[in-house]
């Protein structure tokens, strides 16, 4: 642990805050490496905790070591070895573990090794042998370092329930032999898809939850974007990663404009475009371009991002290039013929060919009866019928939509639509 000191030798009152700041930055990387070295999630978390306690004690006196990450890993590892030594049941495993720990001494200061460990952690937490709920919970707790309480709150679960879910997931990783490895090609691409599905779910959970836990939902979006950026950095030149990152950035850019102070939904065409985050848009647009220009089969996230890009590039709603959006939805329909995509396609068609044509599409979608979120379908039908001046049918559709959703902002929007119908009576 020969780290050179960069701070004054006397007392250093700001030391504690500086140490905390370094810890926040390094906590994820330190944990990822400790898990590899110790082969156990809980042991690694404990070791990290103890290493941090030691840093808080020591750094204000000695200054921050030159490589604080390696310092934390080394201290954490030594604490864990002490722990294991004290536990008789582990004693027979000790020589083996010590050998691993000692052979890894020099590589822990290497940036690339830390990057590899973070990737390993991502692929382990998002392993398909774990349930989707478990993957999401582990990702937020272990990779993003959110507290169990925060993760529970984000999914409207009791803290106990979430703690149990995490314990079960970690036990399965251990008992079923889920490896702490980044998969090799050809498995890699398939597993990347799985990781992206987790990130997208975290993001949409944060983006859709417009009621109650506003702060935590913001955090979910931020973490999903942060992890996608990390993936893009560690696994460069992959269209699905760039596409999803772009998609999330372009949606998140509109966050401030899409809900009023009172928590009401503001539809895209009514949003104050000055509230959109230009930095996110610029980054997102560049990524869409990169993703679409990559060789190989066009990727669904990239197409969705391209649609979002056309929306944010219009100076006002009238300037939106709907014809191109319809074309992109047709591409997306071939990749992902889901009812939600079909409904969005119909909405775009109404802007190009008018509400009558779109209503035909929506009605045929309804007739096929494969739609699960019926309130969305009714709401879309209602809007088209309203535009066509078929007020009574529109009223029935809005009422059906209202009956199907409990989300307060959505309910207020539908109520507003019903009032619009009344006004014209």
């Amino acid at each position: 642990m020969a780290a050179s000191k960069s701070a004054p030798s006397g007392p250093w009152p700001e030391g504690r805050a500086a140490a905390e700041e370094v810890y926040r930055r390094e906590a994820g990387r330190v944990l990822a490496t400790l898990i590899r070295l110790l082969g156990d999630f809980d042991l690694a978390e404990e070791a990290r905790q103890e290493a941090f306690a030691a840093a808080l004690e020591q750094w204000p006196k000695t200054g921050i070591p030159e490589n604080p990450r390696a310092w934390l890993v080394n201290v954490g590892r030594n604490k864990a070895v002490d722990h294991i030594r004290r536990q008789a049941t582990f004693r027979d495993k000790l020589p083996e573990l010590k050998a691993t720990l000692e052979s890894s001494e020099e590589e822990t200061s290497d940036d690339a090794a830390f990057g590899d460990d973070r990737l390993r952690l991502i692929f382990t937490c998002c392993h398909p042998a774990l349930s989707m709920e478990a993957q999401v919970a582990l990702t937020l707790r272990v990779i993003c370092n959110l507290s169990t309480e925060a993760v529970a709150r984000a999914f409207l679960l009791a803290e106990d329930t979430m703690a149990q879910r995490l314990t079960r997931a970690k036990r399965k990783i251990h008992d079923a032999g889920i490896p702490y490895e980044t998969p090799e090609p050809p498995l890699l691409d398939e597993r990347i898809e799985g990781v992206l599905a987790v990130l997208y779910l975290v993001f949409t959970e944060g983006y859709a939850a417009t009621s109650g836990a506003e702060l935590i939902s913001r955090e979910l979006c931020r973490e999903a974007i942060r992890l996608a950026r990390l993936l893009d950095l560690l696994l460069p030149e992959r269209a699905p990663i760039k596409g999803l990152l772009a998609l999330m950035l372009l949606h998140d850019a509109r966050r401030e404009a899409r809900v009023t102070q009172a928590g009401d939904v503001v539809l895209l065409e009514d949003q104050d475009r000055d509230l959109w985050d230009r930095a996110s848009i610029t980054e997102g647009l560049a990524l869409v371009d990169e993703a679409l220009r990559m060789p190989g089969r066009v990727n669904a996230y990239a197409v969705q991002a391209a649609i979002a890009a056309l929306h944010v590039q219009a100076a006002n709603p009238e300037a939106t290039d709907w014809r191109q959006i319809v074309g992109l939805y047709e591409v997306l329909l071939r990749l992902q013929p889901t009812p939600v995509v079909q409904l969005n396609h119909a909405a775009a068609v109404s802007m190009v060919d008018g509400p009558a044509k779109a209503l035909q599409l929506v009605d045929s979608l309804a007739a096929r009866g494969e739609f699960r979120e019926y309130h969305l379908l009714h709401a879309a039908r209602g809007r088209l019928l309203q535009q066509l001046g078929r007020r009574e049918e529109a009223r029935l559709a809005y009422q059906a939509a209202l009956a199907g959703t409990r989300l307060a902002p959505e309910r207020r929007l539908l109520t507003r639509r019903l009032q619009e119908l009344d006004r014209k009576d």
Binding site: H127, A129, D175, A176, G177, I178, P179, E181, P183, L187
Partner: protein, 116 residues
């Protein structure tokens, strides 16, 4: 680690196969088994007779209670198994995916609880 790969498939569908198809499937199993013996993954494996031949045994108050049929009625039935040695679950999944039955049925992958 050792894993038990449990092969579930619909017996009725299997029984309805014509002779040539059934033979081809059986040959595929032979080839697969030979392959995993060669690679050292194979620890054991058998085909089971249909669930119609199953009996379920329980001991209650010291008395043995035997009933006709499998423990649980399911849409797909346990028809055979392999016991394999694999580095981790990814290797076990890859072995399971190559079992011919994975294409029409399902393979349950269960880690063996090692004796302490």
């Amino acid at each position: 680690m050792q894993y038990l790969l449990l092969i579930y498939s619909n017996e009725a569908d299997y029984a309805a196969l014509d002779k040539a198809t059934a033979k081809a499937l059986s040959d595929e199993y032979t080839v697969y088994t030979q392959e995993i013996i060669k690679t050292g993954h194979f620890k054991g494996g058998e085909r089971l007779k249909p669930v119609a031949t199953a009996s379920t045994v329980q001991v209650k108050n010291g008395k043995t209670l035997t009933t006709d049929g499998p423990f649980a009625e399911t849409r797909e039935q346990l028809g055979g198994f392999y016991m394999v040695e694999a580095k981790d679950i990814d290797e076990a999944i890859a072995l399971a995916a190559r079992i011919p039955g994975a294409r029409h049925g399902s393979i349950e992958v269960r880690p063996i609880w090692p004796l302490a």
